[in-house]
């Protein structure tokens, strides 16, 4: 998905802005107890909120799952009652909520309606394809995006800047799944150029754990990862470019030049470390959108990850599974936010750490 606006990231929480020159290593490793506590408490509250929302949201969607499950099979009122009893739907809402809370805290997320399998097992199986897809794409797009952005900014107004910036804006406006469809049509489905596999993660008959199997999986991931990387890259490069331009207006760069440092040294020692600050926050925030990207891209490329699992669960709707997935997605974002705050505190001395 797209994040709502590019510029917001530079305003978030009023934290982000041009900093003072520093080297990261000198400041690393010290957090005040208060800072740590606040961070953990905040994250715990956010998780709690998600857990509560989770329960009620899904009760409202489908108050009568037994009817769905019973269609074509349950033929008497007793059959339906039996299904209700099995799913624990015959108790009062508050009883169910209490049970749900207890389960969440004991790590028991129930059994999926459609797969009759514990939810954590299912999620555990399906999380790997998603990670394989999302992690490389995120890392690659951050790396390439920040390189591109800083290069644009360093020579801003030049031909390279103008052409690549325009291109990035176009990519930024593109739904990632549409790009995926195009790449799929040209490089997988087309009889001439279709050199890439047509979806999934493995070829049949190739042992996934062998050398050939790993190569095969990488081969399968080329198109989806490229799609995600390219779309995310656009956004990261835009942020990097703008924060780099901010930094370049600062006095300490002049000071650096005055000291006789070369352009390159100024760039790498002073400009880049400071310009990277807003990126940290953005990356964490973006995870929430990465989840969305996983859903659409996994749909287009038939990758059996959490995104597809979500849409499969949505169809039933498979309440325990959806709840589990929702919790995993939100928890991932909460934790990533917290980590980002810590990293941010490490990088930026002005945050009282």
């Amino acid at each position: 998905m797209t994040s709502p606006s590019i510029s917001t990231a530079t305003h978030v929480d009023g934290l982000v802005g041009p900093g003072f020159p520093h080297r990261r290593s000198r400041l690393a490793g010290r957090f005040s107890r208060r800072f740590v506590l606040t961070q953990f408490a905040g994250s715990a509250c956010a998780l709690m909120f998600v857990i509560v929302v989770n329960f009620f949201l899904f009760r409202v969607i489908n108050p009568h799952p037994e009817r769905t499950l019973g269609r074509g099979k349950a033929r008497t009122a007793e059959d339906l009652e039996e299904i209700r009893r099995r799913l624990g739907l015959d108790e009062s809402l508050w009883m169910q909520f209490g049970k749900y809370l207890k389960q969440v805290f004991t790590g028991d997320f129930g059994v999926s309606f459609q797969y009759s399998k514990p939810v954590p097992d299912l999620i555990g199986e399906r999380v790997w394809p998603t990670l394989l897809l999302v992690l490389p794409a995120t890392v690659l797009s951050i790396w390439l995006g920040s390189r591109l952005g800083s290069r644009q900014a360093w020579k801003h107004g030049g031909r390279f800047d103008r052409s690549t910036s325009a291109f990035a804006t176009v990519l930024y406006s593109m739904p990632e799944w549409w790009l995926g469809l195009l790449l799929f049509m040209v490089f997988a489905a087309n009889p001439v150029f279709g050199v890439f596999p047509i979806g999934g993660l493995h070829s049949p008959g190739v042992a996934p754990m062998s050398v050939e199997g790993v190569a095969d999986t990488i081969w399968h991931l080329v198109l989806p990862t490229t799609t995600l990387t390219v779309t995310y890259l656009a956004e990261y490069s835009m942020i990097m470019r703008s924060s780099m331009l901010d930094v370049m207006g600062e006095d300490y760069l002049l000071t650096g030049r005055a000291k006789g440092l070369s352009d390159r040294q100024v760039l790498h020692r002073h400009a880049l470390p400071n310009a990277r600050l807003p990126m940290t926050t953005l990356i964490a925030l973006n995870l929430a959108f990465t989840v969305g990207g996983a859903i659409t891209i996994e749909t287009v490329f038939s990758i059996p990850g959490l995104g597809l699992l979500t849409s499969e669960a949505m169809r039933i709707p498979d309440l325990p599974l959806l709840q589990g997935l929702f919790l995993v997605f939100s928890a991932a974002v909460v934790v990533a936010n917290m980590v980002a705050n810590f990293i941010y505190a490490l990088q930026d001395p002005r945050v009282k750490a």
Partner: protein, 306 residues
């Protein structure tokens, strides 16, 4: 010696304020006109708005009826169907023209919802120092944590696939980002001297908010709105593509959904995929460019960044 009767003071103050405001808008417009990307974006938007509004004049709405469609099924572009036909034998060009209405309508309406919620929550949490502000801020943060697409899908399932529900879904999932921007801006407004003056003069929070904070965050709200529309249009397209849109409405997203669903990708029917996708990109791009131009004007510090 005769003096002209002095005009009533109050109205003069009001007239002055209006004059100032008009001048401010005029200045903004002048600055906007100087921004090439912004003007291009605006022009493109106007073109699409005209197409959407006058769609029935540009194409025959009767051609949208599946039962009346007489063309070949999923046929490539020809003289009779310049952009080919869809899987029901309808002209893609006609669909494209009418398909502009839903994304624009949903984008604008959803943005209104999220701007209203976002602005109110953002200003309220920015102005109040007490627990109310903290709670609102935390609430915003929590909502930002919930991944957009799964939440939107769940809500869309819950509310059923109608245009109104899509608008509501996108509207109520899109406000937190706005709230954060407005909150940050409110903070900076709060520190300005006139606020202190007003407070000393005994202005209540409501007065502060409506008379001092709001006019000052308004330009930013406006710029942010334009950018939010871009996001909302994308969201509408994505939801429709995933099959959670209004199935009776013709929109670019549902066109892509139908194309994907009938296997246009593997059948090589590029004419069913390219036109709607390109339209989405162009509209989103136009909103983004216009929005960025506005933002540059409203918040000159950012200007360097573009």
């Amino acid at each position: 010696m005769t003096t002209a009767p002095a005009p009533p003071r109050r109205s003069s103050a009001r007239a002055l304020r209006w004059k100032l405001r008009r001048e401010a808008w005029g200045r903004t417009w002048a600055k906007f006109r100087a921004n090439r990307a912004g003007m291009v974006g605006l022009a493109v938007l106007l073109v699409f708005a005209v197409i959407a509004v006058f769609a029935p004049l540009l194409a025959d709405s009767h051609e949208l009826r599946v039962s009346a469609a007489s063309g070949p099924i999923l046929a490539p572009p020809s003289r009779k169907y310049p952009l080919g036909t869809d899987d029901n034998g309808r002209s893609i060009l006609t669909l494209l023209i009418f398909g502009a209405r839903v994304p624009l309508l949903v984008g604008l309406m959803a943005t209104v919802i999220s701007m209203v919620i976002g602005t109110i929550v953002g200003m309220a949490s920015g102005i109040s120092d007490g627990w109310a502000g903290t709670v609102l801020f935390r609430l915003t943060e929590w909502f930002i944590v919930i991944p957009f697409l799964p939440l939107a899908l769940v809500l869309a399932t819950l509310l059923g696939g109608s245009l109104l529900s899509i608008i509501v879904v996108i509207g109520i999932t899109g406000w937190p980002a706005t709230a954060l921007v407005i909150r940050a801006q409110t903070f900076s407004v709060r520190e300005r001297p006139f606020m202190e003056r007003a407070r000393v003069l005994g202005a209540g929070p409501w007065h502060l908010m409506s008379k001092h904070v709001f006019p000052n965050v308004l330009p930013l709200v406006f710029a942010n709105t334009t950018l939010t529309v871009a996001g909302s249009v994308l969201a509408e397209t994505t939801l429709s593509f995933l099959g959670f849109g209004d199935p009776t409405a013709v929109s670019w997203g549902t066109m892509l959904n139908a194309a994907f669903g009938t296997g246009a990708v593997s059948l090589g029917a590029w004419w069913a995929l390219l036109p709607p996708g390109i339209c989405v990109i162009v509209v989103v791009l136009a909103f983004t460019m216009a929005g960025q131009a506005l933002e540059d004007i409203v918040n000159p510090r950012l200007k360097e960044g573009r």
